[in-house]
């Protein structure tokens, strides 16, 4: 059986584990859900959280997961969703991002107006950010 190249396991500080960090993001997401789009508070909140995580990600102090040395040959399969998304986004953007030709942003805006979806989006964004910081 072919071995994946990333099987090396690095020791991880307990506080850096997802089981510890993900619950920390919950109150941040619940608070962020209260801040409406285009508000100064939302801008400052995202800039503060994103800036902090960006700095944490660029720092070499945090433990990182082992990365694969090379990619498996099936990496080209990832071009399929990327291509579908790019084609739809480029066409709708080129047509002016209107009601009849909506970009992803235009479709997402009304959904993100709701507190629950907005809070979940905050949590997903923070959790994804943390996952990237650890990479």
């Amino acid at each position: 059986m072919e071995q994946r190249p990333e099987l090396t396991v690095e020791p991880v500080s307990p506080w850096a584990r997802a089981q510890v960090m993900l619950p920390v993001f919950v109150p941040f997401a619940l608070l962020g859900g209260l801040l409406p789009s285009f508000s100064l508070a939302a801008n400052l909140y995202v800039l503060a959280l994103g800036g902090g995580l960006l700095l944490a990600g660029m720092s070499s102090r945090l433990p990182r997961r082992a990365a694969p040395v090379t990619l498996l040959p099936g990496v080209a399969w990832w071009l399929v969703p990327v291509a579908v998304f790019v084609v739809v986004e480029v066409i709708t953007f080129g047509m002016g991002s209107t009601h009849d030709y909506p970009t992803l942003s235009l479709l997402a805006d009304p959904l993100l107006d709701g507190y629950l979806v907005r809070s979940m989006a905050y949590f997903g964004w923070l959790a994804g950010f943390w996952g990237l910081v650890r990479r």
Binding site: A42, G50, L71
Partner: protein, 72 residues
Amino acid sequence: MSLTRLLAIAGFVLAVLAVLAVEWAARRPSSRIPTLGDVSALVMRYDVGGIPVGRLAILSFWFWLGWHFLAR
């Protein structure tokens, strides 16, 4: 709902489903497809002259994504 709007929504849904399908295929035993995490990790290790360009690009993109959908 207009046909073009329906097609646009279908296209975005198709893209999301394609991500889930490829990730599912990548996580199968003996898969020859890397997971999205592996692809991201390799891109993030890309340095130019000691500057972690790949890492900065991926983290900045995620930062922008949050700002675009949640703040702007």
